[in-house]
Symmetry: D2
């Protein structure tokens, strides 16, 4: 028996509707293409959610049935409701995995989890990118060689304003002269977070077999490892050792204590 | 010539007003006591700010003139305006230091910077605490021996829901049987953050010479190290290498790319 | 089909021979007791190796057939041959897991992997220890509650001279007043390392069900994740981009370059 | 009054003697050029040491008077005496800073401190390198802009077999298509370690003003922060709390304990 990983692919789903070039590449949306290649693995079961659905498709019920959430957003980050961001954050802290793709670096949920601005440099001239594999022993790079080469990509360059990753998996080389931390792992609460740079909407990135391999690996890495809850509140507890409350008179003022 | 560090001590300042026992210890507020001992160092210049001042005392002007912000809050975290939290966050990412004391673990700004719930166990029976010094070579423990002993404290116990600290400075032992990560360092953006557990309002913690020493050391550690800005937005940049835009026809649909 | 994890339990095996009290607890050696409880899991296959065997029982062949090596040593660290330490180090860098128990903190292989002295404080008066679980979502603590309590242990106290762990799993509270980082994870090369404090030879620690659970979990966590080699030497490589060697005359001396 | 930082520059000093091209660039050795530019700062006092001096120039007395040790080696790593490596390691653990340059990645002392093989890819065709500044707020990059460009360098490429740096300062882009973690910080014991990639002997790297700036900054960053000792041995200590030794009979065998 295989433990099935339940993956929800969230997509802003605006470019595909507004922009013909994007629609040609992803007629039913990037989320559909991602769901299809992930769903081809027998241990992965997918569903999708988009910005314009009620609650952005991320109801309590959907999230409670999600092991790993994949996030793609770009031009409508600000339209994501803070309450949904709160909800997603709590699920991650309780153990759900989060995989943020490409322009999702500016997503509210990504900045919420990391605490930084997540800003970077960019340029779009269809240049070559080469993602170097820094961790060939890590599950996310299983089946990936020394590097992945993408002939045409948008460039993202450092400084990427993120906390030091727990593990840095990929560093990109760009034809135009920049570098970028393209694959980064963090843990927050009981949940795992992976940022993966590729995925620009005007290039057929999600049809690349190596990119698909990395995302599939990342899903398996990010799944909840142990069934855990998390706590938002204080807990008052009794002492374990046999001690009793002390009653101390600190004097009339603290100043006299010194 | 000495470079002066400008420290703003922020205090919720409610317990001291409402509770006679606290007022006895800190008649003018904990912020006043902290400002006094810090200000006694010739390299430190202090000012204070409290919740009930306009903009909680943290105007743009005040923050722009703050090198290190110290934060004490407890019963009114929810009254802190999100806009002020945004402002403080941006200043930290730009290099301002943040020192969070005791019950400030639930402050909005602390949770904002770390992305986690920062929950913990607690108990208040005036028990003994011993803060073990794990990093005797670190500037924050300069002048501190193997441990600091506090005869009467509120207990905070693990699990403390925080991201793994960049550096763990103190771990507390409690008479009642618990342990706690009591001194933790992180960097976010260009700013440094130090959480320090002691500081309960009903005990004369801020009159303890070793606690004062640690907070003074932490101010010096957390000051902006290099004058830097931070960026919230994208930057579009030209290629450095001599390459030109490519024009590629990806075909009528992405599906055909595979 | 279950992937079997091949575990080699290495024991110095001197205390059990010399000391009657230890022999009563572990008549065939601690390694035998550890091998027995690990071997009871159907996904784990064990063998043992001891100091006084040829090559300390750690031949090339044994190591090449080991997924996870468990290490217990105390009074004879210096008798371990440097060449065997070299060999074990290379296997760890290539992906083999290493679990170091208790007094193994001073083992050559542990100091070799970490680069520090691994010194600590200690005391042996059969006092109570409580190992607090800081990472309830981590695979090593699967099935473990808030803490593990051991009624009689040797005390190990901070400062433990180790590099900051990648993940700190357990912190111990001791009856006599100390704390200790009792469960620590690192990665070196492609291999995973776990240090676990309990395991003093004069107490029946390895009969404790929770200790057994942690060691069993750690074996599963530390197994090689992806089949990888490691490289000791340089690799000369051709450029990927289409560039050719440049021939530059830097002038007669560097001084003229300035 | 300025606290002077005492820097010892260690150089293998073989290339300069054997190879005319190198001698033209560095007639008195690279150590001399480094000592000269560092010594021009009024807060830095330098001396040099080379492989062929007695004890490699690193006597107890020299090391005890060194705050920061700079290391350049390449073709004679194996000639460095293990006892001197032991001695340097102990000084680092006690607080001395270590700066390792370029081909020093294979120095015994660097591998000793890190525990890994420190292997990498390389190529020498005088190609262009661009070191991207990932930490513009860090003291090591004070005065450095977005990147440093070197027109002619030897290439070093990933995977660099090192433990995850505590802080990654520079990532290099190479004309031929590779990337490299070129500026890495670690702490071991009480000492700080900085690896800096540039410094190939056949290029006038140590005449470059930005490279000089980084090395000077690194010296200030790596100096001992607090006067500390380190401990190689165990310490037996008395309990702090008022408890006495327990005497427990664990029965005739451990098996009966279960």
């Amino acid at each position: 028996m295989i433990d099935t990983i339940k993956v929800t692919i969230w997509n802003e789903y605006r470019h595909e509707i507004k922009n013909e070039a994007v629609r040609k590449l992803y007629p039913d949306g990037m989320h559909k293409v991602i769901a299809d290649f992930l769903g081809a693995s027998e241990d992965i079961q997918t569903c999708t959610a988009t910005l314009d659905e009620p609650e952005h498709g991320l109801t309590e019920d959907v999230l409670n049935n999600t092991d790993v959430l994949i996030w793609w957003g770009h031009i409508a980050h600000n339209e994501v409701d803070e309450k949904i961001v709160d909800r997603v954050q709590q699920r991650i802290l309780a153990g759900m995995g989060l995989i943020v793709l490409h322009s999702g670096h500016f997503a509210k949920i990504f900045k919420r989890m990391l605490g930084t601005n997540c800003s970077l440099r960019w340029r779009e001239i269809a240049e070559k990118e080469r993602l170097w594999n820094l961790e060939p022993g890590h599950p996310i790079t299983d089946g990936i060689g020394d590097y992945i080469e993408l002939p045409n990509t948008e460039m993202y360059g450092e400084r990427f304003d993120i906390p030091t990753p727990d593990k840095l998996i990929f560093v990109s080389w760009f034809e135009g002269g920049e570098v970028f931390r393209s694959g980064c792992c963090w843990e927050r609460g009981h949940g795992r977070i992976f940022y993966f740079r590729p995925g620009h909407e005007t290039y057929p990135i999600f049809y690349n077999e190596e990119i698909r391999k990395v995302i599939t690996n990342a899903v398996r890495w990010a799944k909840p490892r142990v069934n855990q809850g998390t706590e938002k509140g204080h807990h008052i507890v009794d002492p374990i050792e046999n001690i009793t409350e002390k009653h101390v008179d600190f004097g009339s003022t603290g100043v006299e204590q010194t």
